[in-house]
């Protein structure tokens, strides 16, 4: 592992976002300026942080968009979007890059390149905890919150699929092949919704609330982490994880905070709040593990879209680029 660069921001690094080409990385700290590292120019620029603290940032139509606890979405051209007064944490671009989704209270604002928001989902039954775009259909989005998950086709008045389980889902990840939607629950459990069977498998037994969910790029495995244990479920069988034996991997020395599979190398990176970075290589049921101790707790991870380069955001505000080729 080679550290390519390290950069300091003002606060705990909440979120990292590569642009689609992998030439720029947006580093969003909890408070203070958002930093943009340019790999081509080997330079850094900043964007003023949001009042009251930052939410996620995203690359939309080639430009950086930021959000925050002041309830404002800011665009690179200086314009902004104010869809309400509630705080904004989640900001995501759909699979073909044409739509930007913004979760704010009971709204999922959906805007196009001209900031038209006609496809927004309004007055949803519960606040949007998280949402996920369908990687195989840019007009489909899953919204999770109290009750469970609702899957929408933009422009339709009713969700085309949903599951309510009596509890609530805190995060959502859609598999790259579009078959599975995995939600991390308020309780120590996940729901894995199979679109081919319209069936939400409820997996319980985690020691803590599931903090991270990550799919391999070929959708054959999904990693979930809770506390100090990573559990990787196979999704290749007819019923996916149902009845399957997962891989359970230890290694974290604190609560896991981030997990991501590399599209380039297939490796699974996991970070914890004790500052341990784990790189797992999965070969069937065989697991190779490398451990790296960082100087600060790890807040977030983001693999480069096409190279084995990992961006690591730390609790002390620093962000490092690691070459894991």
């Amino acid at each position: 592992m080679k550290q390519l660069t390290s950069h300091a921001t003002a606060d705990y690094v909440l979120h990292l976002a590569w642009d689609t080409e992998g030439t720029r990385l947006a580093v969003t700290p909890a408070t203070g300026d958002v930093h943009v590292l340019s790999l081509l120019e080997n330079s850094t620029s900043t964007r003023a942080g949001q009042a009251l603290g930052n939410g996620e940032s995203a690359w939309f139509q080639g430009d950086l968009v930021t959000s925050g606890f002041d309830g404002v979405v800011r665009f690179t051209d200086g314009s902004d979007f104010r869809g309400g007064k509630e705080f904004i944490e989640r900001l995501k671009v759909n699979s073909d890059g044409t739509l930007l989704g913004v979760a704010q209270g009971r709204f999922l604002h959906v805007m196009d390149a001209k900031h038209n928001a006609e496809f927004s989902l309004r007055s949803l039954p519960a606040s949007v905890s998280d949402f996920a775009w369908n990687p195989t259909n840019p007009k489909e989005v899953a919204v999770v919150g109290a009750g469970g998950a609702r899957m929408w086709r933009l422009g339709e008045n009713q969700p085309y699929a949903q599951f309510d389980w009596g509890g609530a889902s805190m995060q959502a990840v859609w598999s790259p092949d579009g078959r599975w939607l995995v939600t991390g629950d308020q309780t120590p459990s996940v729901h894995i919704y199979d679109f081919t069977r319209s069936y939400p498998l409820h997996i319980q037994g985690y020691d803590a609330r599931v903090s991270t969910i990550a799919f391999t790029s070929d959708s054959t495995r999904v990693a979930t982490s809770a506390g100090e244990v990573i559990t990787v479920w196979p999704t290749t069988g007819e019923k996916g994880p149902e009845g399957a034996t997962p891989l359970q991997m230890d290694g974290p020395q604190g609560g896991t905070t981030a997990a991501a599979f590399s599209r380039a190398s297939g490796q699974l990176a996991v970070g914890d709040d004790a500052g341990v970075l784990l790189i797992y290589t999965l070969e069937g049921q065989r697991v190779l593990r490398k451990m790296h101790r960082r100087e600060s707790g790890i807040g977030c991870l983001a693999w480069h879209p096409s190279q084995a380069i990992l961006a690591v955001g730390h609790a002390d505000g620093s962000c490092a680029l690691l070459d894991l080729d």
């Binding site: 603290g53 509630e86 905890s129 609330r209 505000g317």
Partner: protein, 445 residues
């Protein structure tokens, strides 16, 4: 110890118009030197200074058993999780709930979610009450009763709009719902900031400091005394009449040392229907409850003691309120022994407080089973529970607290110079004092 090295959270509740926004403005602008995050459900006209005001939508999460008692606030978990990551940590977090919101899910969030418990602790629940309009709310709103029941501190605001008698009456009604809360009177929400930020409401020691008498049993009378009598008859005089009637029971006793037995007899007497005694009527020392009709101005009733050397007298109100005098031909009688009793409050609400204090040691297993059974069967109706226990084989104090079905216990450290005894408080709906007491006694080792 509970709350060590964690950030305190104060929950501010109260009906719309009670003065929450005014209070928030004071907190945001006063130079208290603390970095405070204020989380609001609804944006009001609150000025943002160097503190943080964040708007949250209300979002209820139920645990997967679907029980309403386990409902927590998911939006709070997310906001607080973010705030806890920041470099500049907050000294205090203040969460304002909407006027009609049940504060239960907010409080439960800090009990039910492991991450929240690790980093935050509930300092207390502050309920603002509009002194002028709360009586109307109490008559027609369950939410008003529940907000009072949850409170550690009740700020009786807008007191300038209400007379002293009405305030006293209001406090009595509030005490009937929540005997534990500290009541602060205010105008324009002008209360010392420490009263809000340094509550220690989930610290039982602090709670006891607020009203050390609240655990005393309540009686249907405010006063009792034993008089020596040297005649068979006498007269009872009143000169003022704050109320048109007053309950009174009189009966023969052997002497001053019979006061405890007389008190028990009086409790039974006060549970009967009273017989009416009109102006200039006669009160007999027969142990029956009488209801004196008292008109303003000097009033006299005949007293018939019978063949006894002492009589015990118990009165619904304190004798001073009516300027009561017991007189025989030998002169005005003076009580050999007398006592003021904690009167039972106006239990117009189904929500009441029950306190239990008992020396001795508890059997940990039995206590756990008993408490588990209570929260399982009555959790929906129990708003707050607090307790300090002396467990057999455990040298330290065990502190316990709970909200609805969620309970939490911790080592409370050594007893030091405190009395080693068990103290337990319930605030809830349909509480059966005798049953709770009996249940607790069954846990003694």
């Amino acid at each position: 110890m509970l709350g060590m090295n964690t950030t305190p959270v104060t929950i501010l509740t109260g009906f719309l118009g009670a003065g929450k926004t005014t209070l928030l403005n004071r907190i945001l602008t006063e130079n208290h030197g603390l970095r405070i995050a204020v989380i609001e459900n609804e944006f009001g006209e609150v000025g943002v200074d160097h503190e943080l005001v964040i708007n949250a939508e209300e979002e209820l999460f139920e645990m997967n058993n679907g029980c309403i008692c386990c409902t927590v606030r998911g939006d709070l978990i997310r906001i607080l999780g973010n705030l806890m990551k920041r470099k500049d940590q907050f000294d205090h977090i203040l969460i304002e709930t909407t006027g009609l919101a049940d504060p239960g899910p907010v409080v439960q969030t800090f009990f039910a979610d492991a991450e929240m418990k690790e980093r935050l602790h509930v300092n207390g629940v502050v309920t603002l009450v509009d002194a002028k309009h709360i009586l109307a709310h109490l008559d027609d709103s369950d939410e008003a009763h529940e907000q009072i029941a949850f409170a550690d501190v009740l700020i009786l605001n807008k007191c300038d709009l209400v007379g002293e008698d009405d305030l006293t009456h209001l406090e009595g009604r509030i005490r009937g719902i929540n005997a534990l809360a500290k009541i602060i009177r205010s105008t324009n929400a002008d209360v010392p900031i420490p009263a809000i930020l340094e509550i220690g409401g989930f610290n039982l020691d602090r709670a006891m400091e607020i009203d050390p008498q609240f655990l005393e049993p309540e009686y249907p009378f405010e006063w009792g005394g034993i008089f020596p009598v040297d005649r068979k008859e006498g007269t009872l005089h009143t000169t003022i009449a704050p109320d048109p009637t007053m309950g009174i029971a009189m009966f023969a006793v052997s002497g001053a040392d019979a006061f405890a037995a007389a008190t028990e007899k009086a409790v039974r007497a006060f549970s009967d229907d009273p017989k009416h005694v009109g102006p200039s009527g006669t009160l007999v020392a027969d142990g029956a409850l009488a209801e004196l009709e008292i008109k303003s101005g000097p009033q006299t009733y005949a007293l018939k003691f019978g063949d006894t050397s002492h009589v015990a007298v118990f009165t619904e109100h304190h004798p001073d309120e009516f300027a009561l005098r017991f007189v025989t031909e030998g002169g005005t009688l003076t009580a050999l022994v007398e006592k003021n009793f904690k009167p039972d409050h106006e239990h117009d609400s189904l929500i009441t407080s029950v306190g239990i204090v008992h020396e001795g040691e508890c059997d940990g297993r039995r206590l756990n089973e008993w408490l588990s059974g209570i929260v399982r069967e009555q959790g929906a109706d129990i708003f707050r529970m607090k307790g300090v226990f002396a467990l057999k084989g455990q040298p330290d104090r065990i502190i316990f607290q709970g909200v609805h079905m969620l309970i939490d216990a911790a080592n409370g450290g050594p007893w030091l110079n405190r009395k080693r005894q068990n103290t337990l408080v319930f605030i809830g709906r349909y509480l059966d004092r005798d049953s709770l007491r009996e249940g607790f006694l069954s846990c003694l080792a």
